[in-house]
Structure formats: structure tokens, C-alpha cells
């Protein structure tokens, strides 16, 4: 008995290292890390996993002779939990690339881990423009959108259309403050004026008090520097309290199609928003989105989910070109040198600071009678060309840019 267990233990110690080695090199492992159950679950969540799997399947679940495996986990919007999962993924499970990661706080922690351990980090869900600014690393790609591009899209256009006085409703944490700051800069640079703002707690249930304050300010535009459920409740209360009928306009600074779906067009119509992706843009987006919806309870993809799909696709192309996934920095460098091309975002590039460049779109939410059916929600107001959609390379204070210039 004792001998048997000793033999067993010996056999195990012999087997283990080879098993670990097999995990490290011969499988391309992609981890989708996001909010699977909380207030951001509908804009990324399980849908992002579906998107990643779709990209892997286009490669036949195999790249450069290595099988592709997709794993996923819930970071619960907590940087410590997210860091714990990522560390275990990389050290024990042999994960090569981490995808999605909404919530700016968790995303900034992830950028650091990926860079320390030389893995690949492709963010789609987080907003903070610092990921390609002062917190940029040679291992990060920021795919879909950021606070600068949102502020630039919605802020600039709304001021130009005559909305020159603003009042902000701000989610009282880093993301809301950053979005308010970036938008305020854009509004003032274009000749607008900010009359005031009110900070509300994250996940507040009732917004009527805050909206009455916005109403009293007599500002032409009420800017919503919040996200998810908070944005939904703000818009709903505004429609109920007759704020839009009273002549003030709402500007959603970060609105996802899942939010509009939850609001219904009756409450949301007329809202202007900036997005990197809309399923009904062209034949390629329609075809891909319909495939996605068929696998995700009939729900059309958000821009975050589309970004995860496109990010995985481009990552796999880089791995294929290098025939290896070992060196994270080399893979990201390859991703930057290869032009991007996918059905969701069309052709594009990745800049030296890790910023993925594509056009952004300014949309207005349709009136109920303009919509032809479920998920027919947006009409295009303006396409913001790729060259103008993101912060100019030299204004982000990313150390990589200076280094690249010296060479």
C-alpha cells in the first residue's frame, strides 16, 4: 500500500513537468476576462466569449499547427479578483492572450500583468484612454473605443449643432470623472460652456433628483458621463419628467446597443451617441452579426463584442505569421505591422502606442415609427474618419511613441 502510493507519487512528479511544457507551447490559449454577471454583463459578458469562439472557428480552431482553446472568467469589476485570475491563467494554465476586460480599473491592472509576464493583452471593453497613453505597454492593444474618441465624437458634433451649454451627470468614480474631463475639454475647445455638474453614486436607483438639478441649470445639453444601468435609468427618468419635451437634449457619452434595447425606442429616441460598430452598417457587418445573434439568444453584438471578435482574429493572424505564440511583445509587434481586416470594422491599422484605428460613427436613436423591427435602432448622422476618430499619437504621453521616434 505504502509502496504503491510512493510509486504513484514518483510517477506524478515525473509526468508533471512534461505536462506543463505541453501546455505552454503547443496550445494557443485565449482567455476572455470580463464582467459575466454584473451591470456590464450584457455589453460584453458571455457574448464576448461567443465572439472569440467565432474568430477561432474561422481558423478551424487551429493556428500554425497548434489547437486554439478559449477560456473565460468573471472579474466581478474588481481589480484584485481580475489580477488573481490573470496571474493563475498565465502561470498555471498557460494562457497566451487576455481579451476584452471592461472596467477601466481592472484593465489598467491587466496591462501591467501582461507586460510583466510578456503576454498579449487586447482590450475591447474598457474606456480609459490611458491604456494607450501614459499606461501604454508594448504588450497592449486597445481595440474598440476610448474616452477621448467618445468625447470627441459626441462632444464636438453636439456643440457644432448648436448645443453650446452643458450640464453633466457624472458616475462618481474614475471612469465618470475621466469622461467628464475629456468631454469638457472638447466642449470648451469648440466654443461651448459647461454650466455645472452633479456626481451620483455608481448604480444609483433613482435619477429624478439629479435630473431636476440638470433641468434647473437651463443647459441646452445634459451630458451623461455614466454607463450601463445608470445611463438607462437617467434616460428613462428624463423622458418621464418631460425634460426632452421641455427643450433640453440628452447626450449619452457611452451608450451601448444593449442599453437602447433595454430602454426601448419610446424612451431613447432622439439620443445621440458615438459608437465604433453597428450591426446594420454594411453587408459584412450584417452577415457577421446575424451569425452572432443566431448563437447568442437572438441578441445583436455590441461594439465591445465585435471588438473581441476582431481582436482574436487579428491576434491569430499574427501568430500564424510568426508560427509561434511564445513572445508576447513579438506577437503585438507583428499585430502592429500587419494591416487589420475583418467583417466588423473593415480595414484598419494598429498604431505604435497600441491604439487600433478605425472610423467612429455618430448615431441618433430612431423614433419608434422609424424602426422596422427588433434591433433596428440607429440612424447614421456622421462618419468620423479614422484619421480624426482617435487622439493624435503625439498627445497621449505614451513612452513607446517617443522611443519609436528616436529610432
Amino acid at each position: 500500500m505504502r509502496l504503491a502510493s510512493r510509486l504513484f507519487a514518483f510517477a506524478l512528479t515525473c509526468l508533471m513537468p512534461s505536462a506543463a511544457m505541453a501546455q505552454g507551447g503547443k496550445v494557443v490559449k485565449i482567455g476572455v476576462l470580463n464582467d459575466m454577471s454584473g451591470l456590464y454583463a450584457d455589453l460584453g459578458g458571455p457574448g464576448s466569449v461567443v465572439a472569440a469562439k467565432m474568430a477561432a472557428e474561422e481558423f478551424g480552431n487551429k493556428v500554425a499547427g497548434m489547437p486554439i482553446e478559449i477560456v473565460s472568467a468573471d472579474h466581478q469589476n474588481k481589480p484584485d479578483i481580475g489580477s488573481g485570475i490573470a496571474t493563475k491563467w498565465i502561470d498555471v494554465d498557460g494562457v497566451d492572450a487576455i481579451l476584452d476586460v471592461p472596467n477601466s480599473g481592472v484593465a489598467l491592472a491587466m496591462a501591467k500583468i501582461a507586460s510583466d509576464k510578456n503576454k498579449v493583452f487586447i482590450d475591447s471593453g474598457a474606456a480609459t484612454s490611458d491604456l494607450t497613453g501614459k499606461a501604454c505597454t508594448p504588450n497592449t492593444v486597445h481595440w474598440t473605443y476610448d474616452t477621448w474618441s467618445l468625447a470627441n465624437g459626441t462632444g464636438k458634433y453636439v456643440v457644432k449643432a448648436g448645443g453650446d451649454t452643458w450640464f453633466f451627470l457624472v458616475a462618481d468614480y474614475a471612469f465618470g470623472k475621466a469622461l467628464e474631463r475629456d468631454t469638457k475639454t472638447v466642449v470648451e475647445a469648440n466654443g461651448g460652456k459647461v454650466l455645472g455638474s452633479v456626481s451620483h453614486p455608481l448604480n444609483a436607483s433613482d435619477f429624478s433628483s439629479f435630473l431636476l438639478q440638470a433641468q434647473a441649470s437651463k443647459a441646452k445639453i445634459i451630458g451623461l458621463a455614466n454607463a450601463g444601468g445608470d445611463t438607462i435609468n437617467s434616460i428613462k427618468a428624463a423622458s418621464e419628467f418631460g425634460i426632452v419635451q421641455g427643450g433640453q437634449k440628452m447626450a449619452g457619452l457611452l451608450v451601448f446597443i444593449s442599453d437602447i434595447h433595454a430602454l426601448g425606442l419610446k424612451a431613447a429616441n432622439g439620443l445621440q451617441l458615438t459608437s465604433a460598430f453597428y450591426w446594420d452598417t454594411n453587408d459584412a457587418t450584417r452577415a457577421w452579426s446575424k451569425k452572432f445573434a443566431a448563437r447568442h439568444n437572438g441578441r445583436m453584438p455590441t461594439m465591445v463584442q465585435a471588438g473581441v471578435y476582431a481582436g482574436v482574429l487579428h491576434y491569430l493572424k499574427a501568430v500564424q505569421a510568426l508560427k509561434s505564440d511564445e513572445d508576447g511583445k513579438a506577437v503585438v509587434a507583428k499585430m502592429k505591422s500587419l494591416p487589420t481586416d475583418d467583417p466588423a470594422f473593415g480595414k484598419g491599422t494598429i498604431r505604435a502606442d497600441g491604439r487600433k484605428i478605425h472610423p467612429m460613427y455618430l448615431f441618433e436613436v430612431k423614433k419608434p415609427n422609424e424602426s422596422k423591427g427588433a434591433w433596428d435602432y440607429y440612424k447614421l448622422i456622421r462618419e468620423i474618419p479614422a484619421a480624426e476618430a482617435f487622439r493624435p499619437l503625439d498627445q497621449g504621453a505614451c513612452p513607446l511613441v517617443a522611443a519609436a521616434a528616436k529610432k
Partner: protein, 295 residues
Amino acid sequence: MTTVFGVPIQALFSQLLVGLINGSFYALLSLGLAIIFGLLNIINFCHGALYMLGALVAWLLLRFFDLGYWPALLIAPLVVGLFGMLIERTMLKRLQGLDPLFGLLLTFGLALVIQGVARNYFGVSGEPYDVPEQLTGGRNLGFMFLPNYRAWVVLVSVVLCGLTWFVAERTRMGAYLRAATENPVLVQAFGINVPRLITITYGLGVALAALAGVMAAPIYRVNPLMGADLIIVVFAVVVIGGMGSILGSIVTGFALGVIEGLTKVFYPEASNTVVFVIMAIVLLVKPAGLFGRTA
């Protein structure tokens, strides 16, 4: 313009009114909790989940049976109330006589299960539910625009609270119930079916939560987490009012709504915490709560 601490008096009035509206939800929910605790000695942690279930049933009725707000106002509490009775009969009943902590654990677990199942099928963003046509629009009160639907919510809530208080404190049925909690054996000896009485009371408390859920659906969204967000505040209301005191929970519910509304004007960042600060102070000064009788 007249001002109070730098805030125009008109703005203050409108914030008071908004606070009253939120307070009516607190009152309705804490009322159900107070009845269930006061009469059954159960700390019903799945109250928030049942409130959500009420809204969800209303939405399902509309989506699949084309039944609008008014029928839902009746059917949803009935369905959820029956579901509550089923919970009481099959599960809570077995915990009778044990430490209330066991009931808390069971109902907390139930809340997680109900919310998890709903989240699995409906996502977290929720589904829209329109204000019934008869109550759309609103009137201008001079100092603010009051949506008709919100006025209706306050009205219903005040009537229901009054009615519940009357039934529990002034009728024969209420007297039986109060007696049954004091001494179930003796009351049973008088020929009253105490277990059935308890099941019905639990069902009624749950139906109140479901009704609040239906009324909340047009204001917020039908969202699997709507109850989880609210239940903690409502528990604080019950604790401040005095565990199990019906009048206490009604008065505290409305009062805290108003205080919260005022906080949103003077220091909005604290509006989510002010209720708990008050709870801490009340517990220090009067541990049994404002209206509680010391055991």
C-alpha cells in the same frame, strides 16, 4: 428668489416630492418585511427577489399573453403570492421554532437562486415596460413637472399602507395573527388553524412585494437585479423603524425617502450612504428602532 442654504426654495420643494415618491417604494417593501418578521419571526431576505419577480411576471404577461398593466396589477401579486405560500409550506415551515438566522440563510439562498435564474434568461440590462396609457403625461405644479404615473404610485402606496396597518391592528384577523405569534399553542387550542394563518400571512406579505414590483416596472426597468439593489436599503428602513413594527416601517419608509432626496441636493455623493448613517445613529441611541418595543 428665496433660498435655503443656497438652494432655491422651489428646487427644494421638487426634491421633497421626488423623495416622497421614492419613499413610497421603501414603505411598501418594508411593510411586507415588517409583517413577515413581526408576525412570523422570519427575516425574509428573498423579499427583493420576489419584488423583482412581480415586475418580471408583469412583463411576461404583456409579452406572452398581451395582458397590460391593469390586469398585471392583480395577477402578478396573486401568482407571486401563491409562489410565496409554496415556499412557506415546503421550506420555511420546517424552520419554525428555530433561530431566525436559519430562515435568513434559507431566504438569502432562495434570493440568489431566483435572481440567478432570472439573470440567465433575461440578462442584466433588463427589459422595457411602458407606463399605462391612462397615466402617461403629467402636470405642471408651478415648481416642478409631476409625471402622472409617479403621483399614482404615491397614492396607491399611501392607501395600501393604511389598509395593511388597519387590517393588522384593528381587525379580528389581525388580532388572531398577533395572538398566534405570542402563543401559537393557545390560539390553536381556541380552534384557529395557525399554520394556515401563517401561510396566508406570508403570502400576503410577498404579494405586497410583487405589487410594488409591478408598480416599479414602468419607472425603472424589469431587471433581474432590481430587487438586490433595493433590499439592503429596505432592511435598513425596517431596522430604523423597529423590527416588526408596521407603523414604524411605513413612517420610516416615507421619511427616509425624503431625507435621501434632500441629500441629493446638498451632497449628492452621499445619497447612497445616508440611510446607513442614520441607521447607525438610531441603533446607538435607540437599539430597538424608532417605533420598536424592547423585547
